[in-house]
């Protein structure tokens, strides 16, 4: 379980409460616009829809308490918060490296998600870092700088990681037969 209490007592959050924040209608519009894809990102990253639900809610709560910002930096802030919360969760379980760096996808966890699509099945075979990078670059279309900030990486290394992640994904897709018959 994620400790919501920890968030309550977060000093940065306490400080930010003194400032003006997002209004409710503004938040609701932003939520409806972004929540489904953020949930998808968290599901793909965590391979657990329960954890994805918790992290999603906590990320939006932190965003509400954050200082006001435009939609694009807000989205990057949201993804950064969500990624950090998920990594904190793994860290508490002492499984960060296993989840983030390595490609470990236990069969029972895969069965929790609907993996009927070839792409989804291929995506599952990548490491969480590769999945995160590909999602942020292609689905959310964030810039290299934004992705680097979200994932806590340097912009230069991000380019290399993204290039390699694309290569790995293509390789896996080729192995799954994509180049041969049903591409497009």
């Amino acid at each position: 379980m994620l400790a919501v209490d920890a968030a309550i007592r977060h000093p940065a959050m306490t400080e930010s409460l003194k400032n003006e924040r997002v209004s409710q209608p503004e938040f609701e519009a932003f939520y409806l616009q972004t929540a489904r894809l953020l949930h998808g990102y968290l599901c793909r990253l965590s391979r657990d829809s329960g954890i994805a639900d918790e992290v999603l809610q906590e990320s939006y709560i932190r965003m509400i308490h954050a200082p006001p910002m435009d939609d694009r930096p807000r989205k990057a802030y949201l993804y950064q918060t969500a990624t950090n919360l998920l990594r904190d969760h793994w860290r508490r379980q002492k499984r960060e490296r296993e989840n983030w760096e390595l490609n470990k996808s236990p069969k029972e966890q895969q069965q929790n998600l609907n993996l009927s699509l070839d792409m989804a099945a291929v995506f599952e075979q990548l490491s969480a870092k590769d999945r995160a990078v590909l999602w942020l670059a292609h689905v959310e279309e964030l810039s290299h700088r934004e992705i680097a900030a979200v994932l806590g990486l340097k912009e230069k290394s991000l380019k290399v990681i993204l290039f390699r992640a694309r290569d790995r994904a293509k390789e896996l897709l080729e192995q799954a037969g994509w180049g041969r018959g049903h591409e497009g």
């Binding site: 998808g40 699509l117 293509k170 994509w178």
Partner: protein, 110 residues
């Protein structure tokens, strides 16, 4: 499968397929307001809690001072089974215990 655009389309397609039962934005907004109130409550109560601790420490110190000053007399009184004749000591002890117990009680309720 060399084309980046094809990969891009596949990833976008996969993301578009994602369906989830998400909580309404109203619920999240409500939870955020609850957290905000909780933080504000803690901020307001902080000086009060400090004062309680200071009071408890002062009472404890007074109790020990009284105990030290009147140790000889106390022994005589206790030997005669008339300890209830020491109201200042008893009251100070009760105040010290009360000051410690009150903040602990309010924390346990939360």
């Amino acid at each position: 499968m060399k084309d980046d655009r094809a990969l891009d389309q596949l990833l976008k397609g996969m993301a578009a397929e994602h369906r989830a039962q998400l909580p309404g934005p109203g619920l999240i907004w409500w939870r955020a307001q609850l957290q905000k109130k909780q933080i504000e409550k803690e901020r307001i109560e902080r000086p009060l809690m400090m004062m309680r601790h200071v009071a408890a420490i002062t009472c404890g110190a007074a109790f020990i001072a009284l105990l030290a000053q009147n140790f000889g007399e106390m022994q005589t009184v206790l030997r005669n089974d008339s300890w209830f004749l020491m109201p200042p000591l008893v009251l100070t002890a009760m105040a010290a215990v009360g000051s410690w117990a009150l903040p602990l009680g309010s924390r346990a309720k939360r």
